[in-house]
Structures are given as structure tokens and as C-alpha cells.
């Protein structure tokens, strides 16, 4: 039996301007899931439900084997949560926060925390109010990483970070990959970070799950073709997500790319000039446009 880091089933939730219907989302233990979506897609709502802070109108949520929100206290001992809109106490130092977190979680590793301080170039004695945005984000992450939680939930961990800070954060996240008992869910609109680190990709748009697949299969299934058509022909082929045509040239995007898709293009009378893999960002845009 496969064990799940989290398992959400049949989730319904309804707000005045937002609804989620029958959402099913699960992450096998030891994997990294990237949650992609524009603002308002439902990423934060999903994360709040996983943290037990929002109770869905219907559906089951299990996190690390605990029922949410009923068993959230036990679950939260093993979840590490950080988000870009989370703040620490301005008037206190980072060291104060480290001691506070340590008093709550016995497994907080002071040695690892010291190590992270150095690598993130933070000073324990500095008050939070003197920190830049990047330093604040790194400080929150330090507090979470140093207790090695079984499940890391990171809401936009790299948003607003400069490239160097982002690289530091990403390399610490990569460290988590070494342990096959630890799982990560992170949301981002920086699809580049997600493309790199995720095993699973979940696409959310307007409360709907557009796709949930392992990254390799997913990236492979999308492709962009540049084709030349016989004069006067209208480009049309089944399996295309989008077709843009100008004169005899057409750009065709498909999410059903396999060995015979290029052949089908040829059979339809098109000359394939180029075939490109698509980045997650391009796929994201194409996917959202199609579903709307």
C-alpha cells in the first residue's frame, strides 16, 4: 500500500467569489509536488485546508495519516509551513524565534539551525524589523527546515527573492530530496523553480484542477510545432490545444504529443518545419487559455 503525505478527496468549498468542487489531490510520500496557478486559483485555499485552518464544506483530508482539521495538532508537529505573507515578531530577534520554536518542537536541531544561519547569511541577534524581505523569507524557512518536518508546505517560497537568495533557498529544498520519507508541497508562480524540483505537477485554475501528473510525462506530452501548409489550407487537426495561423505558416500546440502526432501532421498535408519542447510556463499559459 502506498502511503500518502497528504490525500484530499471530494473537496467542496464555496466562498462568495470562489468555489472548488470535488477536488482530488494526493501526494505520495517522498515526492515533491509543485502547485501552479495564477493568483486566486485556489492555491492558498488548498494549503489552508491542508493546515487545518479552513474546513471544507464536504470531503476528506488526511495529512501524514491524520484527519484534518480534527487531528491538526498532532499533524502540525510534523508539518513545516512557511509562506511569503507570513511574518515574524518585529520586536524580537531571530534567535528568540529559534528558541521559541525549539521550545515547541523537541526535534528542532540547533546545530543545523546554526549551519543554516551561516548559509543564509543571517545574524541570530538581529531584530526581525531590520531584515529585508529576502532575509525575512529565509528566516521563516530556517525555522521550518531546522526541525526537519516530514511534510514541508511552502506557499510561494521564492516570490520576491533576489536570484542569489532564490538559489540558496532552492539548494536547501534540494537537500530535502535526500530523505525518501520527506515530502514537499510548494506553490509558486515561478514555474521555473517548480519545473526543476517537482516530481508531480498540479495545475489549479479557478478552483479546478486542470492537471495532475508526474512532471516527465507531463512535459513530454506537450509540444509546439511550426508547420507549413499548402496554400489556402486551414490548419486543423485533432489533439491541438491551440492553432495560430498566418498565411501558409501555422503554430500548433498539442498536449497529446507522441510518436505519431508529427506523422499525423504530415498525413494531414503539413510540412513540419520545427518541433519544440515547451517550458512549464508556456504550458501553463496554454492550459489556462484553453480551459477558460
Amino acid at each position: 500500500m502506498q502511503s500518502f503525505a497528504f490525500d484530499m478527496r471530494g473537496i467542496d468549498i464555496r466562498y462568495p467569489h470562489f468555489a472548488m468542487e470535488n477536488l482530488n489531490l494526493a501526494l505520495p510520500q517522498g515526492q515533491v509536488m509543485g502547485l501552479v496557478g495564477v493568483n486566486g486559483a485556489g492555491k492558498s485555499t488548498t494549503i489552508r485546508m491542508l493546515m487545518g485552518l479552513v474546513k471544507p464544506a464536504a470531503g476528506q483530508i488526511e495529512v501524514l495519516g491524520y484527519q484534518m482539521p480534527a487531528q491538526q495538532v498532532q499533524a502540525k508537529y510534523e508539518i513545516g509551513f512557511a509562506s511569503d505573507d507570513m511574518r515574524l515578531y518585529k520586536s524580537q530577534t531571530l534567535q528568540w524565534h529559534m528558541d521559541f520554536v525549539h521550545s515547541i518542537y523537541p526535534q528542532f536541531d540547533q546545530a543545523y539551525a546554526k549551519d543554516l544561519l551561516k548559509r543564509f547569511e543571517l545574524i541570530g541577534e538581529q531584530k526581525i524589523k531590520g531584515l529585508s524581505h529576502g532575509q525575512r523569507v529565509k528566516a521563516s524557512l530556517l525555522l521550518v527546515l531546522a526541525r526537519r518536518p516530514k511534510l514541508l508546505i511552502l506557499d510561494e517560497p521564492t516570490t520576491g527573492l533576489d536570484p542569489v537568495a532564490r538559489d540558496e533557498v532552492i539548494s536547501e529544498l534540494a537537500e530535502v530530496l535526500r530523505d525518501d520519507a520527506r515530502s514537499v508541497l510548494f506553490s509558486s508562480h515561478n514555474t521555473h523553480d517548480i519545473e526543476k524540483l517537482s516530481d508531480q505537477i498540479a495545475f489549479l485554475d479557478r478552483g479546478k484542477l486542470l492537471a495532475l501528473q508526474d512532471k516527465e510525462t507531463y512535459l513530454d506530452s506537450w509540444s509546439r510545432f511550426r508547420c507549413q501548409l499548402p496554400p489556402g489550407r486551414q490548419a486543423d487537426i485533432t489533439g491541438a490545444v491551440s492553432i495560430r495561423q498566418q498565411g501558409q505558416l501555422a503554430e500548433i500546440i498539442t498536449d497529446q504529443n507522441n510518436h505519431d502526432f508529427p506523422q499525423r501532421l504530415v498525413q494531414a498535408g503539413f510540412t513540419v518545419l520545427e518541433q519544440h519542447r515547451m517550458s512549464l510556463e508556456e504550458i501553463f499559459v496554454a492550459n489556462v487559455k484553453r480551459s477558460r
Binding site: A174, V176, H192, K215, E216, H276, R277
Partner: protein, 132 residues
């Protein structure tokens, strides 16, 4: 420690393919000798900051190509096959020829024309080596 792999997100090739090619060339060059233990999938993923599933796929392709062998519970090793380097070069040649054929089709050359061009290349090459 990235195990000497240099992966780039701006490379047009997908990450898994970059790993496959770079490990293959390490083996071809003999930098990674036969029977050498490869880093575990998770280890390599963490070191190169690439997802586990990507490294998994790269190892699967490498195994299929005969570059590495995986033993359940022990991990992956560079293939001990004595002709491995020869075999890999053969594969590379086959791929290049395949690409040449595809290009010729795009140029709408006949098979005879392609064969003639290949013949010409062969003659030039032997002429150069006898001259040098």
C-alpha cells in the same frame, strides 16, 4: 558536489537527456570506469537540484542503453560490458546517420543522391588520411 554534471535550464534539451548524455560521455571517456558505483537517485537529485523523477528517468534510459546496470537493493553501476565504449560509439554513429537521413528527407533528396554524397565524404576522408 554535482558529480561533474553541468545541467542548464536554458539548454533546449530536457534535463533528463542532459544527464543521460553527460553520464554517457563520462563513461565513453573512461572517467567513470566499469563497475563504478553511481550516486543514488536521491543523492544525485539533491546534488544537482533536479527532481527525483527526472534522475529516475535518466537512469532508466541509461540502463536501457546498456550504459549502467541497476541491481535491486544495491544501486546502479557503470556497465561492466567489455565492449561498452565500442557499443556506445556504434550507437552514436547510428544516431548521426539517422539524423542525416532525416535531413536528406527534408531536403527531398533521393536515396541514391544521399548515398552518393556519403560516398563522396568517404573518398575525401580516405584521400586526406593517405595524403597526411
Amino acid at each position: 558536489m554535482t558529480y561533474g554534471l553541468f545541467l542548464s535550464a536554458t539548454d533546449k534539451k530536457p534535463m533528463y537527456l542532459q544527464i543521460v548524455e553527460q553520464i554517457t560521455s563520462k563513461v565513453l571517456l573512461g572517467d567513470w570506469p566499469a563497475d563504478m558505483a553511481l550516486p543514488s537517485i536521491r543523492e544525485l537529485a539533491a546534488a544537482t537540484q533536479v527532481s527525483v523523477i527526472t534522475v529516475k528517468r535518466a537512469y532508466a534510459e541509461l540502463e536501457q542503453a546498456g550504459v549502467i546496470v541497476t541491481q535491486a537493493g544495491r544501486g546502479s553501476f557503470v556497465s561492466p560490458h567489455p565492449d561498452l565504449q565500442q557499443q556506445l560509439k556504434q550507437q552514436e554513429l547510428a544516431q548521426l546517420l539517422q539524423a542525416a537521413v532525416a535531413l536528406a528527407r527534408q531536403l527531398q533528396l533521393t536515396d541514391a543522391e544521399l548515398a552518393a554524397q556519403l560516398e563522396q565524404q568517404l573518398q575525401q576522408s580516405s584521400a586526406q588520411s593517405s595524403a597526411g
